[in-house]
Amino acid sequence: MDLDLLGNILYAMVRCGTPLLLVALGELVCEKSGVLNLGQEGMMLFGAVVGFIAAFVTGSLWLGVLMACLAGMLLASLFAVVALGCQANQVATGLALTIFGVGLSAFVGSAWVGKPLSGFEALAIPLLADLPIIGHMLFNQDLLVYLSFALFLLVAWVLLKSRAGLILQAVGENPDAASAMGLPVLRVRTLAVLFGGAMAGLAGAYLSLAYTPMWAENMTAGRGWIALALVVFASWRVLRVLLGAYLFGLASILHLVAQGIGVSFPANLLAMLPYVATILVLVVLSRNALKTRLYAPVSLGQPWKAGR
């Protein structure tokens, strides 16, 4: 395989993995606080459509990105009111949010279908972009991809090194104990849910403003669900979320490239490849069940109310 092709594959891997990474990081923070929000797909779609409309109307891509994040947070705040404020079942609320988001985005976006937009272009970082193999992959991407790198570092730092990360985990492990220590459990959880919403909205904006700059109904095509699964298979560890997202991207790209070269696979096997490869690797990494349990937030998905 020549180096150019390898460079192109790695470049495409990062692009393909980026929306998954963004959503999965948001959901990871959310789940670390003990809240399971299955509404990612809906928030992503709503972010995608609002981001597209804002960018189209104002001509400013960054305003589009901002509005997309706010749109994601708006839906997330609905989730927070129902699931945290009223202690409704989180699984049901999340599913409802996805169904709502899919419908709402289609409704809001119906007038914007088929409108072309010039989205984020690649921005090469001088010198670094010329590095062999990794130059193209890491330093010749668009600004939203660079932003995803920064957000990954930020989330990793918060979860692993900061006091805020400890508070988040305390709330997710044992909200009663955390509350007894004087931690504002509901406020922490609400902020985590809102962060998840912003990240899903951002991922939606990445799709509608950078990856394929357009609005088409249901354009996320299940990426929100894949990201949700990634968080679980990554056993709630931030580095593995990154690994899983890019692994999925790599497998998705590889089978497309292989076909172009003339390698032939059975069609169905091919479609399974990204899922199988990602799950296999992450399961192998998590074969130590005890360690995995250590990372899983104990109170995940359980409603909590102060002074119960």
Partner: protein, 360 residues
Amino acid sequence: MHLKKSTTLLRTLAAAIGLSTALSAVAADPLKVGFVYIGPIGDHGWTYQHEQGRQALIQQFGDKVQTSFVENVPEGADAERVIRNMAKGGYDLVFATSFGYMNPTAKVAKQFPKVTFEHATGYKQDKNLGTYLATSYEGRYVGGYLAAKMTKSKKVGYVASFPIPEVLRDINAIQLALDKYNPGTEIKVVWVNSWFDPGKEADAANALIDQGVDVLFQHTDSPAPIQTAERRGIYAVGYASDMAHFGPKAVLTSIVNNWGPHYIKSTQAVIDGNWKPQDYWGGLAEGTVQLPISDLVPADVKSGAEQIIASIKDGSFHPFTGPILDQAGEVKIPEGAVASNAELAGMNYYVKGITAQLPK
């Protein structure tokens, strides 16, 4: 992805419930026509064009018809439930608009002999089940001619969905045109295993362009491949709807499906009580396939394309005229013969000249 499956299921379920409640509220007078769509009506491709056809139907008949549709219906068990719901709900005529709805439609048609069904792109008929398709291979052949004239790398790409006869026919038509007008040019095919996934379609387009393709075709339903071609500075041929504004510097032509006339004709036949099951093939001659050719195409090439279109329209030329050999060199259509519709409908091979293997 069980999770994904269950949401699509929930959505179709919700749609079906909405449908049946809407049904009970109306009088029995107008002819009730239902449409089952594979994608969202906002895909700006395949489903979008069917929706345009439904709009044309409403325009033609006004309140003599009452139409509704269910979108995003996955092929398989979900489709059967949606189609059965329509039949049960008092619909007189149901259009099922994706290849994978064939078996569900045939099954439901047997159980509801009084309801008329039409299935797009399939090959199963019954007393109350007809089929219809747009002979997009005619458009593909002309697209293949344009690609042959415009390519510099002698590599043409095809973002494909599933290896079914409809798709293989179109790929073969392009290769036949390439062989004739620029021998040695090859079509490279990438299967994305989806009818609609803009991200994946763009990835496939990029993978093909990275490998030197400079004219891109697609057999998927979103404009993402066109957009990718525009960004990467190569040519493309749109599919299903006119995609020119997604790639003003890329799109040579689009193979546009115009379903309105057929929907109007079939509905009129059902109203008049003289509908008969048939296998309707509409192409360039019938206006079911339209080819708006861009000004990117030089005048001499354009007039060449127009000549081919004219010869297909008047029947003097058929893209699948023998001799046509498969990859192994076996004669599939003998010299001088023209492929029958049955042969075209069951096409399950690549023609000679395509080097990649057909996925099984």
